[in-house]
């Protein structure tokens, strides 16, 4: 991790730093991880320059360590995200996000005639392709591509 960028947002003693989030999806990541209803100290930076992805965002959550299952939920909007686990100001572990085979909740089916858009139903998708992302709705069997993807 680049020390200067690291310091551009407050350093944390214990917790998780989520890096390489596409800047335009920062708030989606916050919402998917439920950080908008979380009492921990959270700092984030956005529109940081990234050589690989254009503008990126970074989130630091003090005293929080995510389960793999939780973190894979952000794969839809931040497939290249990297997690740094911080203990006593040091990065002790790095994790990558993996796109799960099945996505439950989170995504919305693009098909306006889909039953999931007309009744209160938890959506369910099979991931048929990861790059670019293509999700097949378990209910209407139509394919939602990345371009049409909306997050609940």
């Amino acid at each position: 991790m680049n020390k200067k960028k690291e310091l551009s947002v407050n350093a944390i003693k214990e917790g998780t730093v989520i890096d390489h989030i596409p800047a335009h999806n920062l708030f989606k990541v916050i919402s998917i991880l439920g950080l908008d209803h979380c009492d921990n100290l959270i700092t984030f930076g956005t529109n940081l320059g990234s050589e690989r992805y254009g503008k990126k965002a970074i989130i630091k959550v003090a005293d929080k360590f995510f389960e793999n299952e939780d973190i894979n939920r952000i794969a839809l909007v931040a497939p290249d995200a990297r997690l740094n686990i911080i203990r006593d100001y040091e990065v002790v572990e790095k994790q990558l996000v993996t796109v799960p085979d099945e996505i439950i909740g989170i995504a919305k089916c693009f098909n306006p005639k889909c039953i999931t858009n007309n009744e209160v139903i938890t959506t369910k998708f099979l991931v048929v392709q990861t790059k670019p992302l293509a999700l097949k709705c378990y209910y209407c069997e139509k394919i939602t591509i990345e371009e049409h993807l909306k997050i609940h």
Binding site: E119, Y138, Y139, C140
Partner: protein
């Protein structure tokens, strides 16, 4: 299959499809049986479809079963704002099986999750209509003696026609060759082309409806619907290109049969009706036997 819902034709294996086709033939030979005596079947038509509903209700009646339900949503609790979930929960407490037609895509899969009894999908929006596919398969088997190695021509709206998509998927178990005849705007979607390629199944696409049909075993006609076209001029250009006339059948094979999911508008000229190769009215009748087979199979009665 017992007590499993039938939502999509893909829910059936090749063996299960063959079993349904065999059972349909048995029911045709002996249609009046009491297999559904003391059974109550829910018939929930959230949108009207007289043809499909009568076919199912005839099948149930011939088997001695009773039907409860409604024939369009204005006469149901849905018009009072009840959710699909609540309707299905209630009806599945009263019945042994539910036949459901609903305008929303995916509604049948959802109903199957909520129901205590099996659901037979009688059409969920533009998604699936598996009993139509099974009656198409039964019609093909009956007229050709086999489902294997046939040359299937499909004509008209191959983009939106769900009966076309399901039949393509189901026939793919049986080593067919497909010929797709459609205007550019209504050609078979890419996902089905890729899928056929991945299965190594041969298919050819044509824009013109010509004497290439001389090689067909099955000619599956569909309706080109005006509302599918963004540009009305495009519709005017193609609307009369895909009309089957009796004269076009003179060089076709003796075993050729013409299928159509009905209702037709003008895509099959009336002068074809008297041709022995016209099979669409018998095809509709076959639906009763195919549905008898599906119902009894799902309830574990055969």
């Amino acid at each position: 299959m017992k007590n499993r819902s039938l939502v999509s034709i893909n829910d059936f294996t090749k063996e299960e499809i063959l079993k349904i086709v065999r059972l349909a033939a048995e029911f045709e030979a002996n249609p009046n049986q009491d297999l559904l005596k003391h059974k109550v079947i829910g018939s929930l038509f959230f949108e009207p479809s007289t043809r499909t509903r009568l076919s199912f209700e005839t099948a149930i009646s011939r088997l001695g079963g009773r039907v409860v339900g409604f024939s369009d949503s204005s006469s149901s609790s849905t018009s009072k704002g009840e959710t699909l979930k609540d309707t299905i929960r209630m009806v599945s407490n009263y019945t042994d099986l539910i036949v459901m037609r609903h305008p929303m895509d995916g509604s049948a899969r959802y109903a199957a999750e909520q129901s205590r009894v099996p659901i037979i999908n009688a059409g969920d929006g533009s998604n699936q209509h598996p009993t139509q596919t099974l009656l198409d398969l039964y019609s093909i088997k009956k007229t050709q003696g086999t489902l294997e190695n046939l040359n299937i021509f499909m004509v008209g709206d191959l983009k939106y026609g769900r009966t076309v998509h399901s039949l393509v998927q189901a026939m793919s178990h049986f080593n067919p060759v497909f010929n797709f005849i459609a205007p550019e705007e209504l050609r078979i979607p890419e996902e089905y082309r890729l899928w056929l390629q991945s299965k190594g199944i041969k298919f050819y696409e044509h824009n013109e409806f010509t004497d290439i049909i001389s090689r067909a075993d099955i000619l599956y006609m569909t309706r080109v619907q005006r509302e599918r076209f963004v540009d009305p001029i495009e519709y005017e250009k193609v609307k009369n290109v895909y009309i089957l006339k009796n004269a076009m059948l003179s060089n076709t094979k003796d075993n050729l049969r013409i299928l159509h999911p009905l209702p037709r508008v003008n895509e099959i000229n009336c002068d074809v009706d008297a041709n022995p190769k016209a099979y669409y009215f018998q095809q509709a009748e076959n639906g009763v036997y195919a549905r008898m087979a599906v119902i009894c199979f799902i309830l574990g009665l055969v």
